[in-house]
């Protein structure tokens, strides 16, 4: 399992209700069910992946986070997870607000556009960066709102949500992000993982 998922599993308390938005093939949900005994639910846009999830015995609905989170009442879940897709939404602000309406807490992971490889790629080549975690060309990427770890921290102040925990993932190593190391983490982390609250 991806290190990212392991970190998310660690962040989630046992026997809680969790919604994974964009749950892919259900790997994270399966692990949460098994290791944390959570009531696990998922939303996934791809029909094939929903069918995969069903074959694993997971409760998943086919749907789109921008349209289908509406149906869940306030605080229906203890945690709502959004893994590496915030940058793909037309309006990330609305999505975050919806996550925090539906869930008491949200866990958001973002591919860090501030990573040095990305910066170097653009600086030297002068073309849109293509890296292992960002493999698409500018014209076919689903990522329309890329941001850096620093941008995300700034965003929390602009739209007013609390970052409860910030973690950086660098070469499978996990470290905590704080105000004093933000500059370095923003340069070296491939992924930012944030536990947020209203």
């Amino acid at each position: 399992m991806k290190t990212e998922y392991k970190i998310i599993v660690d962040l989630i308390e046992e026997k809680t209700r969790v919604l994974d938005v964009g749950c892919d093939d259900g790997t994270l949900l399966e692990s949460l069910k098994k290791n944390k005994n959570v009531d696990a639910r998922g939303i996934e846009i791809s029909k094939d992946k929903v069918q995969t999830c069903v074959s694993k015995g997971l409760t998943v609905i086919e749907g789109n986070a921008e349209l289908d989170l509406k149906q869940f009442p306030n605080d229906s879940f203890d945690y709502v997870v959004l893994g590496q897709t915030l940058q793909a939404f037309i309006n990330p602000e609305i999505v975050i607000k919806e996550l925090l309406r539906v869930g008491k807490k949200a866990i958001i992971t973002i591919p860090n556009f501030g990573h040095w490889k990305v910066r170097l790629n653009l600086l030297i080549k002068g073309t849109m960066p293509i890296t292992e975690s960002l493999p698409n060309d500018w014209y076919n990427t689903p990522n329309i709102h890329m941001c850096t770890i620093k941008d995300f921290v700034k965003f929390s102040k602009i739209i007013n949500f609390k970052i409860f925990k910030s973690l950086a993932l660098t070469n499978k190593n996990i470290s905590t992000i704080n105000n004093s190391n933000l500059f370095y983490k923003n340069l070296f982390a491939e992924l930012g993982i944030f536990l947020i609250e209203k």
Binding site: V50, V54, L58, V60
Partner: protein, 372 residues
Amino acid sequence: MNIKENIKTLVIKNPLKLDCGKTINNFPLAYETYGSLNKNKDNAILVFHALTGDQFVTGINPVTKKDGWWSYAVGPNKSIDTNKYFVICANVIGGCMGSFGPSHKNPDTNKIYGTDFPVITINDMVNAQVNLLDHFEIKKLFSVVGGSMGGMQVLQFISNYPDKAGTVVPIACTSSHSAQNIAFNELGRQAIASDHNWFDGKYLSNNTLPDKGLSVARMAAHITYLSKKGLQEKFGRKLQERDALKFGFDADFQIESYLRYQGSVFVDRFDANSYLYITRAMDYFDLVKQFDGNLSNAFKKTKAKFFVISFTSDWLYPTQENKDIVIALNAIGADVGFVEIKSDKGHDSFLLDVPDFLNTLKNFLDKSYSER
């Protein structure tokens, strides 16, 4: 049509108060079963049939000698695996495959009911069928499954009997019949009523049958079960056994011939008055209204696990109407999964060989069964 010898019938002694206000008792409910009930009696699945279905879900239908209506989905190792599950299906009341319906005789008058048969509802249908659980001494079904009108019965069943099923699978259905649904049903009923052989429903006493009307009703309905794309691909403007148009009103086009055929075979196996009664039951179905405008309340008392399935090309009960059920369930934190299956086969997709559908249904049931 001598059908009695092949039909298992349970006589329901308990009085059943119908929604129309009348009470019926000592009435027959025809059913069939497949597979075997295990010791714990916890492997039973109650399958509900659609408008023109019957209790003969799979294998050869002993009356029509054709494949059962859900042979693709039900049988050994199939989606609803009869090696594993005990499948029960009953002919709905109002139907014409042995259950109490308009072609039966009224014991008080000794005359065939015809349109004197009480108007029945989806609610009445499931309230009749729940007696099968007592008959087999089943406390709780593993699952209730059905497509189209069968799906409506699934929803009504779990709403009426929240503890009597562990999993709930409504397929290609709706919680409330739309104006368009009612319109198409009314077209069918008017086709029957305008056949001069209908005799205000008393055709059996007049030794005749409103075959033409029933056949037109079936033709119109059949169009609603298919998608435009499916029809275009299968028939297009292909001509029927001719090289050129004949400038007349014979079936020039294959689609015309196909529809006429569908109509003609239907009248051999279906009763016109039953068609009126069952379409009426569908039109009256409005689970939203039953629960004062809040569908969620229909499911508040159940802990069952739901799985809702719709089809991309189904315009009779489109995805949004299926999704409304999902939304109502999510609003109360119920355990609900949902998938829209890609298919060009229209509303009929659930009856046909649509592998994504059949696999998903199997996966859901088998996984839920092993985790129960």
